[in-house]
């Protein structure tokens, strides 16, 4: 049996947020370990293409402008204290990354260069060609190797464990290579396990983005916030939904309908293609719905940028279009459409990454922290700006790591018994023992994904949401009967699929509950039966608490406003 040492800080997930948290907690002197279901460099942070935002004073930029545009982008649902932290810390954190080794593109003076991104008037997006996330992820892993931090690679978390006082005291996980369970004791746990894209079909997200962290935290009592805010990215490929970076439009590409019209001028006369993502995705969907698309798509036009420029600054999507769509971006139009991309909501945290409120305004789970896409600080509110997600991981990963390390010094070692593993071990044994042929997990996942993409997407309304809710409930009822062929212990990916499916069903239920609750249109949440934003009733966050066996419990929190009163949002 594996009995790992007790850690001050145990981090679930080793993408950008997780590794950044690990490095900062380690620098604070805490004992740190990371636990991840894939090798760190396989994490989905890889997929962030376009860049990372920061308003650097020595480039004539102001953090207040960045903060305001983030707040406006969020449709005023972001907490402004959190956004201020993000915008103020950005410069320092990006320079730190450069010092660690990230090879950001440079300007002629040898300083870091910038490009433009959506929802922002100034070029403040720092980048590495069009694989910024990958370049950052590999550098953070270099730092992790240098610090020799332990990484439990290919371990799958099944639940969080609380002590008798209800404090998060560790977790249960099994090693995929052996199927062996272990109880991890830790004074603090940081969830940095990424998003839930696979709840939808299609999605730009990798197959590993199954909302595990959100579901596990939710089940343990931490509230999920603003789960209805699901971002559809304006430029995804038909079919499997692969992402085409916003940097393409940032660098000057156009959006055209089938008549060759740059239709964004009708929807966002000033910012055009660079309006915020919810606005562009809605515009595209309207064009498609009203018959001005072709085969369910509109077009991205990069032809005028020239082949050399495309290869140099947008090399990855240039190759991607060739490989996955058989399109030569330098000469042809690329059919694209809005596709599920990012979850703005997540595990509710404060600006230090804590999943509980030190002022007791809301109930959470002491000892648990979260950062990155799995968390909801809330920075992105109703709609995240492009290139703010990488920044989110770096700033709030670091802050969560620091706070967790300091907090761990104030509490005694955890006291939980090995018996905390029994329920999860029993569940896995039950799944293995089930005789087939029953339904396959993949069949249920596909039904869930297409249901969500049909009813809980760019446009939503009561009846569709109710239908989705019933579908998900029915799938939950069918889940206990799914079976797998693989009865082994070693690297049983069938088993993983069954467990991930149950996490995703909980996430889907929360998204729908949030969407049914919010009776207005704000950011990515557009209700055709409530067309307007309603600041009087709905300038507030929706918190969802897990109720085993029944619908989530709903609660509300006011939005923190510091200096920007809600205005009409025009681009």
């Amino acid at each position: 049996m594996i009995s790992p040492p007790t850690y001050d800080v145990l981090i679930v997930g080793a993408g950008l947020a997780g590794m950044r948290a690990a490095i900062s907690a380690h620098q604070q002197g805490a004992s740190v370990a990371l636990l991840t279901k894939v090798h760190p460099v396989r994490s989905h942070s890889n997929a962030a293409q376009g860049g990372i935002n920061a308003a650097l004073t020595d480039r004539g930029d102001k953090w207040e402008d960045h903060a305001f545009e983030t707040v406006k982008g969020s449709d005023y649902l972001a907490d402004q204290d959190a956004v201020e932290v993000l915008a103020q810390d950005a410069g320092h954190d990006i320079i730190t990354l450069e010092h660690m080794g990230v090879i950001f593109n440079r300007n002629d003076e040898g300083q870091l260069g910038t490009r433009r991104f959506g929802g922002q008037k100034k070029a403040r997006t720092f980048f590495v060609s069009d694989f910024t996330g990958q370049a950052m992820l590999h550098v953070l892993y270099e730092q992790l190797m240098q610090a020799k931090l332990p990484v439990y690679e290919e371990w799958f978390v099944t639940s969080l464990v609380k002590d008798e006082q209800g404090h998060c005291a560790g977790l249960v996980a099994f090693e995929m290579r052996t199927g062996q369970f272990a109880l991890f004791r830790a004074k603090t746990v940081i969830m940095a396990s990424g998003g839930l894209g696979r709840v939808y079909e299609p999605s730009t997200n990798a197959l590993i983005c199954t909302g595990d962290g959100m579901a596990v935290a939710y089940r343990a009592g931490a509230p999920l916030m603003d789960m209805e805010m699901v971002q559809y990215h304006p430029t995804t490929l038909k079919g499997k939904g692969l992402l085409i970076t916003e940097a393409a439009r940032g660098e000057g590409a156009y959006l055209l309908n089938k008549q060759g019209d740059r239709f964004m001028k009708h929807y966002a006369p000033t910012m055009l293609e660079l309006a915020s993502r919810d606005v562009v995705s809605r515009a595209e969907q309207i064009e498609i719905n009203e018959g001005r698309g072709m085969n369910g798509c509109v077009f991205l036009d990069c032809r005028h940028l020239g082949r050399a420029f495309l290869q140099n600054r947008l090399g990855q999507i240039y190759a991607e279009a060739q490989t996955f769509a058989n399109i030569d971006l330098a000469e042809e139009l690329l059919p694209i459409r809005p596709g599920m991309h990012y979850q703005m909501g997540g595990i509710k945290t404060d600006t230090e990454g804590r999943c509980w409120d030190i002022h007791n305004q809301w109930k959470g789970l002491p000892g648990l922290f979260a950062a990155g896409e799995t968390a909801c600080v809330s920075l992105h509110g109703g709609n995240r700006l492009g290139a703010n997600s990488l920044l989110d991981t770096i700033v709030f990963g670091r802050r969560a790591g620091q706070c967790a390390a300091n907090y761990s010094r104030t509490i005694p070692p955890p006291t939980i018994s090995e018996r905390s593993m029994e329920a999860d071990q029993h569940l896995v044994a039950t799944i293995l023992a089930r005789k087939g042929p029953g339904e396959r997990p993949a069949a249920l996942r596909l039904e869930m994904g297409t249901t969500m993409n049909r009813y809980v997407s760019v446009f939503r309304e009561q009846e569709g949401l109710e239908t989705a809710r019933q579908h998900i409930q029915a799938l939950k009822a069918r889940w206990p009967d799914v079976t797998i062929d693989d009865k082994g212990q070693v690297y049983n990916t069938g088993m993983i699929a069954v467990l991930e499916l149950s996490f995703m069903l909980d996430c889907a239920e929360a998204i729908i509950a949030g969407a049914l609750t919010r009776k207005e249109s704000r950011g990515a949440h557009f209700r055709t039966d409530y067309l307007d934003r309603d600041d009087e009733d709905w300038l507030q966050h929706i918190l969802l608490y897990h109720q085993p066996g029944s619908e989530p419990l709903t609660d509300f929190l006011p939005v923190t406003i510091t200096q920007w009163q809600p205005q009409i949002r025009v681009y």
Binding site: S43, I95, H99, N105, Q134, A443, D485
Partner: protein, 319 residues
């Protein structure tokens, strides 16, 4: 359209585990990748088929495997491109690393090699308040080698690793180049010294396989050659490899034709008489098979040597 995936399988939990092949017949769409095919098998036919995969877009590096004998990313390989007439596709785990189950390999040895090159930036201290300044032309080219996603494909098909497990291998050496060529790193000499040792940069035989299979265009072998040039320019202690390179150019420059015996003598040096003597059987065989010109060690420069020398001059002025 139909194809057959012939997958090499291995289940360590069987009583007497040994690899075997299993065939899956599959309907596919022209846009499907081999990964799509494998996922279809896993989701609809046999969920015990085990592989790693995640992004589906050639950025996470999870799905390295051999398809029809060459390592590649399954997500980047269209079924139609490897089986245009719908024939059988061989799918096997990567080489040069142990297999855990089916197509899942143990990447531990891979990462050990990466760690051996101390893969982190060692810049001048203390760090400036702002970024390190560096001209764009000194930095932007590094994007090429930073595109490496550590998928292991080059290591799988490396022909040197097949016979020498100690060799650092293409991925680690390309990663080493990334730091050697970074103007912010101040330990270039130390790095080159370490890479100048046995199992390092001189052990590549330039078979080009890694360039051929790399799914991200990193060109690992080109990076290894760049490391060699740097080591020679920095006057690192001579190795058989660097002496071989030097002698090779020198002989061609002066004789216009390769003088193999002289090349061997200058590569190993007279100190290594034993190694030279050991080559005698090979020399005989080569002569018999017509691989060595009969002119022998005393052969004269070719008649049009001035053309060769002009070429050398032109290359020199160009670089």
């Amino acid at each position: 359209m139909h194809t057959t995936l012939r997958v090499r399988r291995f289940n360590p939990e069987q009583d007497h585990p040994s690899p075997y092949y299993q065939e899956y017949d599959l309907a596919f769409d022209p846009s499907d990748s081999v990964l799509d095919g494998l996922i279809k098998v896993r989701e609809t036919i046999d969920d015990s088929l085990t592989l790693r995969c995640s992004c589906r877009g050639a950025i996470c590096g999870s799905c390295g495997m051999r398809i029809n004998g060459h390592a590649t990313l399954a997500c980047k390989t269209k079924i139609i491109s490897v089986a245009p007439l719908g024939g059988t596709i061989d799918v096997e785990p990567m080489n040069n690393m142990p297999v855990i189950k089916d197509l899942v390999t143990d990447m531990t040895p891979f990462w050990e090699k990466i760690r051996r090159i101390q893969p982190w930036l060692r810049p001048a201290e203390p760090a400036p308040v702002a970024e390190y300044l560096a001209p764009p032309e000194s930095m932007n080219h590094l994007a090429g080698v930073m595109s490496c996603i550590m998928c292991g494909v080059c290591v799988s098909d490396c022909t040197v690793l097949e016979v020498d497990k100690q060799f650092l291998g293409p991925a680690a050496l390309a990663k080493a180049y990334r730091f050697v060529a970074d103007p912010r790193d101040v330990t270039t000499a130390t790095r080159l010294e370490a890479l100048n040792q046995p199992s390092g940069m001189w052990d590549c035989t330039r078979c080009m396989e890694c360039i051929q299979v790399c799914p991200k265009g990193v060109g690992p072998m080109d990076r290894i050659m760049a490391l060699r040039s740097k080591a020679m320019a920095e006057k690192m202690p001579a190795t058989c490899g660097s002496r071989h390179a030097e002698a090779f150019t020198d002989i061609i420059k002066h004789k216009g034709i390769l003088d193999e015996p002289m090349l061997a003598i200058r590569t190993f040096g007279l100190k290594h008489v034993g190694r030279l003597l050991g080559m005698i059987p090979m020399v005989f065989q080569s002569v018999l098979k017509g691989k060595i010109p009969m002119s022998g060690p005393l052969h004269r420069p070719i008649s049009s040597i001035q053309h060769i020398q002009r070429l050398f001059k032109r290359v020199r002025t160009k670089s």
